[in-house]
Amino acid sequence: MYRYDEFDHKIVTDRVNQFRGQVNRRISGELSEDAFKPLRLMNGVYLQLHAYMLRVAIPYGTVSSKQMRMLAHIARKYDRGYGHFTTRQNIQYNWPALDRIPDLLEELASVEMHAIQTSGNCIRNVTADQYAGAIADEIEDPRIISEIIRQWSTFHPEFSYLPRKFKIAVTGHENDRAAIKLHDIGIVIVRNDKGETGYEVHVGGGQGRSPFIAKKLTNFVPAEKLLAYLEAVMRVYNMLGRRDNSYKARIKILVHETGETEMRRLVDEEFERIDASQMLSLPEAELDRISAYFAPPNYENLPAQSEVFEAAKGSNADFNHWVKTNLVPHKTPGYGIINISLKPIGGIPGDATDVQMDIIADLAERYALDEVRVTHEQNLVLPHVKLDEAKEVYDILCAHDLATPNIGLISDTIACPGLDYCNLANARSIPLAQEISTHFADLDKQYDIGELKIKISGCINACGHHHVGHIGILGVDKKGTEFYQISLGGSADEQASLGDITGQAFTEDKVVDAVDTIVETYLNLRQPEERFLDTYRRVGMSPFKEQLYAD
């Protein structure tokens, strides 16, 4: 994992001191709310329905056990004993008092964490594949370039007041787990004919009110030129992005209105100039320095098959089920990647208590080479666990309600905070996730249904990724009452697609029935081996629509 040097420490510490000054000036009345609001937002502090909310950055979703313990400590000391892991691999605290946030940030800084790049119209916290460095067939660990991008984009003087927020995601694997095509910039690490590693850059994806799949602007940029290329994209956007209408201000609208070809020409032109100046050519020594932090940890030499593991699977059906859904093969023989579901049946997606966070920190330290990952599907990952010890880990997870065997299944729902917390919400999201997961609680039923991703947002901002849910649910407000629009066929992976709306919205009490109808329709229509998404892509909307609006 990356560790701060004196420069990184200085940058984060300066920021905490600066914010402490700003909070003091606000509380003493020297600063008005108008002047203070943008400052607090740039430090991840939002005002929600019940209290302030603090969003803490987890760059590319990687934390150490020490950092995870700090997150638990903060939940206990400054909040109400829990935190919410988000679709952007961050964690949100729902109840901190403003006057204590500077102390909180100081504690975070002591473990090399911060709330920078979690809000405002700047380049936001970079996200990446949660299996980085652990999955087989990866071209390069995406966290290396993510860390470089994190540094380059932190307090970027030219790009801190962009037309709108800007999100970058990176994947180093052909199976896209980082939803790169739904980001302002999505980067895929590739290898060219000569065997050199470089970066494919997709621009202009996004969700919200007008969702778009990103367009590929270039097939290959070498590492030393990537920052120049990114700076070119950012400058074109900062110069030409619309500022007259905040709904049209994201780069996706610029790409859409300008056209892919012209956008590519503009970026290339800018890139040539920046590249010629050599200002942003990344020094090889720096690339090496940062890469070294992500060198493979010291794995033991183990046989690919673990007898202990096989025996445990044979004797314990629950463990066997959990392995099938939650354990992913590791690139190293004798190891596995363990997914920790934060979606207990009937629970709140993405929430973890301070105790759970402490337990996970202990597990990471003892069993997972000291690392935890946060996924954009609001779960956690222990990336490097010996198969010999998987059962021990499982038993501990079980004892803390962290072993729900449902990764990728219908109860592994993504949900944004919705009207239970969020100031912008039209409707609640969490209760629907809970009802759906309770309705489909039966595991055999879930296994029979197979991979089915439900994603729920409480308003069109799409924080819950509803556009790319196999089944997407969007809360809408009709005269103060909650209604829900359903869409089908979305996907966030390498074959990204946007869902189609089924038709008229449903009242809250009809949503679970509607989901049930959709699932039954799929089960009736599917051919062998077909996942929900495959069936939908084959048969289209009409059979689902007929059943849904049969009355």
């Binding site: 329905l49 019940h50 209290a51």
Partner: protein
């Protein structure tokens, strides 16, 4: 912010968030209280506007954020907010009834 327009409503109250901790507060007798049940209720649009004016003097801005009117309705045991949003603000998250004002009320 999604402030639900209260035009045409009969009964209204004024709410805001407190600066130092973000707590939801309601206006009453020239001060701010935490419990919705004790909030001052205005009857009619004119009274509502007067209430909002009283709640928004310049110096308030120092410690109270964005006061606004919202609609309430009269029922058997007092007043309740009309919108789901204001009900949730008055009580706490519906998915964590152990938290927020609903928890403190016991």
């Amino acid at each position: 912010m999604a402030q639900h327009s209260s035009k045409g409503a009969r009964f209204q109250a004024v709410t805001a968030n407190r600066l130092n901790d973000g707590e939801v507060v309601y206006f009453k007798d020239n001060g701010w209280i935490e419990n919705f049940a004790e909030a001052e209720i205005a009857d009619g649009q004119e009274a509502a506007e007067a209430l909002l004016t009283r709640a928004s003097p310049d110096n308030m801005e120092a410690f109270i954020l964005d006061p606004y009117l919202f609609e309430v309705s009269e029922s058997e045991d007092g007043f309740t907010p009309v919108s789901v949003r204001e009900n949730i603000r008055a009580k706490g998250p519906t998915v964590r009834t152990d938290l927020g004002k609903q928890a403190e009320a016991g």
